[in-house]
Subunit: 481 residues, 2 copies
């Protein structure tokens, strides 16, 4: 198995594609830039969906659905928005065999059509806040694509809310950023950094964009979720107004926020190793796999009997468990196969274990013998595995946090910046007072961009590593997907 | 409230649109033929999704995702398929600002692109059966649309399976029909009839199409879910082959099956009355609403205190409950409003009830005083409401079954057929030995079509009402959406 996967050291990009292929997460489709998400990959996405959807509902949001098609004229109504998205549009010009009078754009995001709708739904302050989310596919015509990270069509959710005041809308924007961070950290075991985007990196049409940035196994950054305060930009473009308590007409303040199938890419690259995937138990489609071991037929019956009873008790306890009773494959093959697929916990049961009423338990997060526990009694297996899943979940977060911190560098000068970036990579955490053009120069020379201005920045005052200006603003630079 | 809803008697089509508007289920969008599904309507759809998805997984299916776009050449590979869908296609001709070399069709259904993919996934008999479902939006360029029933874009699931033999594929086709019927009857409280489609009505590319047909409140039929045995038609078109145990190459037998947002239309029209929606408790977004009643401020505090404690205990028991504590509206308005929105059970709490430690419970399925129970003790309210929800669920199914049976007519001659159809409407259950042209003539003269050849037909031999031929085949004719 592992020999089919290029080592991360040798070629990280190939490693990523190898893991996706071997673990059967996704594959290229006959349509350029679109992928097929295979069942195992889709189950990961279903875990992401359930995790964030539950949090959306807990914070008072409801799901709805808006059309796939957007009239071309809508896209053109918000100036920055059209500039940002015009080059990426897929356009339907023929419907039912006839040329359309007005071409229809496949939504690249839905601020415009939802803005148009909200203008009719919102009349008075009593209709606010309006808190709606949509699960949808969107299309952006990307020249270069990579499965999960950047595809022409992708799946996502887009929240769209309208509020009476700027304060409320900003509070919502930050709340949803917190929801994403909470999911990433606690469900996906990815220690994301919350921050604000710079003017250059923000969403086309936003006043402020916030992001959660994750560090991948090669030290690159992945923007894993964004939350935008749109001010009254879309409200002005689409006439989203309300009568306040004094009867005066006011523009709404709106927000939008999204996570996408990109999150699956984040999970692969934040945790994967040279053996393949390592999945956080909260999201793993299979949390525990049971591999029975036997030589003789008599052993087979005994071993499978115990294996099946262990499976049943784990399943009853709500653990997602699979008994791999395929006859044609060796235990060794199965160990490697499930390791490669990232199953957090493996239970081995052989004839000797059966005699001792015990099993062997191996953790995916610790390689080889170090991660194996022998003689775990069958009687207490459910509690043991439950605890083990929590232990593995915590260990993955801890390892990813240590990795992120070990690969975050503080630099004081542009010379040092370039040197560290080239030699060490990772996140460069710096004092920053530069502007859009400075960011452009730095990107041109180093390929690094400002990932975010972290919300949590205890650094205090310092000198900008690039301009030398005094500032208390901190930025994280990195190469990014 | 009710005055905003046309009576069914007066104009059933307007009643339907009025209910959708007033209950805020959906509305027309700025894109012709596409609707916006509002939160309350979308929650109904989420209930449908959860109900069938759970059943898919219990029968061994997994979800996956295939591209929105289908190369035009794929659509043309299966002869009947292209004939059926060509007139309804939406076509993307421009992407990223450039004219595309090969136009991309927005999927009207995904047999072709999935068939193409399966051809690569399936090598040997070990890869079979392949049991996959997709939740997706699809687009069919319909000239006349109606919210939920027929929209240009709609949401659905499409299952696509591949099997080694015809027997297995037919078994799967019928199993999924059963899954749909089970959902419709037990979750949606709609007594659907399972049957086979005639040659004329079957899916473009299928050998046999099966359907669940529901009777709407005006006696019309609504096809509410279909399951197709595709034989080796798509396997031949897309080269879906496997090596059998003897090493011989064989074509796969495939199936496809789907339910869509149409099911929401079925729920509206199978149960709704002149007051509005009547939702089956299993699917109702709000199962019980609490309406507090008071005049003086002192009463308000006491009543809301009890109301909140009732709400909390129902919510703890997993009941979807809403406490309507809006100050600006009268209890009478709220009664009508929640009735219109189809909430199965209403709990009224006033000062006198508080004194008696009791509440009043009203059932949505029984109008006026008849459906009210006074003096229900607060102490046992959770069990009482749980039981009541089951009672209402069963009652809705019973009422719909009685209505269906009362509006199903057996006729022996075409004369009688036309008379009964005109005067009574409903389902006409007949012996049938006609062909495609006969069906066309009958439709032209009466607007009725064969909805299905019911699987359960105890009638035995008889004479075809139209051709006079002896036959044991039974058909249900009806006007249909």
């Amino acid at each position: 198995m592992a020999e089919k996967i290029t080592s991360r050291q040798e070629d990280y990009s190939r490693w990523y594609l190898d893991v996706i292929r071997e673990a059967e997460l996704a594959e290229n489709s006959p349509v350029r830039g679109c992928m097929v998400i295979r069942p195992y990959g889709f189950q990961l996405w279903e875990g992401v969906k359930e995790g964030v959807d539950r949090r959306f509902k807990a914070t008072g949001h409801q799901n709805a659905y808006f059309p796939l098609f957007i009239p071309m004229s809508f896209i053109q109504k918000e100036t920055q928005h059209v500039e940002g998205f015009a080059p990426e549009l897929a356009v339907v010009t023929i419907g039912g065999g006839k040329e359309l009078e007005e071409p229809l754009v496949i939504r690249p995001t839905s601020e415009t059509i939802i803005g148009h709708t909200y203008a009719r739904w919102i009349q008075s302050y009593r209709d606010l806040p309006l808190l709606i989310n949509q699960w949808a596919n969107v299309v952006r015509w990307e020249p270069r694509t990579r499965p999960f990270l950047r595809t022409m069509e992708f799946l996502w959710q887009e929240g769209h809310t309208a509020h009476a005041t700027a304060e409320e809308a900003i509070e919502e924007t930050l709340q949803m950023l917190e929801v994403y961070a909470d999911f990433a950290i606690n469900d996906a075991a990815i220690p994301v950094i919350k921050g604000r985007k710079t003017e250059r990196e923000k969403f086309a049409g936003a006043i402020d964009s916030y992001t959660i940035e994750a560090m991948m196994g090669n030290g690159w950054a992945l923007q894993s979720g964004t939350s935008h305060y749109l001010g009254t930009n879309f409200a002005h473009a689409f006439d989203i107004k309300y009568l306040d308590q004094s009867g005066t007409e006011q523009y709404c303040h709106t927000t939008s926020w999204g996570v996408s199938t990109r999150m699956v890419g984040a999970i692969i690259m934040a945790h994967g190793d040279d053996q393949g995937l390592r999945l956080p138990p909260v999201l793993a489609p299979i949390q525990a796999v049971i591999v029975p071991i036997w030589r003789k037929d008599k052993e087979r019956t005994d071993v499978l009997g115990v294996a099946e009873s262990v499976r049943a008790s784990l399943a009853d306890a709500g653990i997602r468990v699979r008994l791999d009773d395929r006859d044609e494959l060796t235990p060794g093959f199965k160990f490697n196969d499930w390791e490669m697929r990232g199953v957090p916990v493996r239970i081995e049961i052989g004839p000797r274990d059966v005699k001792q009423d015990a099993v062997v338990v191996a953790r995916r997060d610790r390689p080889g013998k170090e991660g194996k526990q022998f003689g775990i009694p069958v009687s207490g297996i459910t509690e043991y595995i439950k605890d083990m899943l929590e232990t593995v979940q915590a260990a993955l977060l801890e390892q990813a946090t240590e990795f992120r911190d070990a690969n975050t560098h503080h630099v004081d000068s542009y010379g040092q910046f370039k040197e560290v970036l080239e030699e060490e990579g990772g996140f460069l955490r710096v004092h920053w007072a530069g502007g859009v053009e400075d960011e452009e120069c730095i990107q041109e020379e180093t390929k690094a961009t400002v990932r975010c201005l972290p919300l949590d920045a205890p650094e205090g005052d310092g000198e900008c590593f690039y301009t030398g200006q005094k500032t208390d603003q901190v930025a994280i630079f990195a190469r990014a997907y």
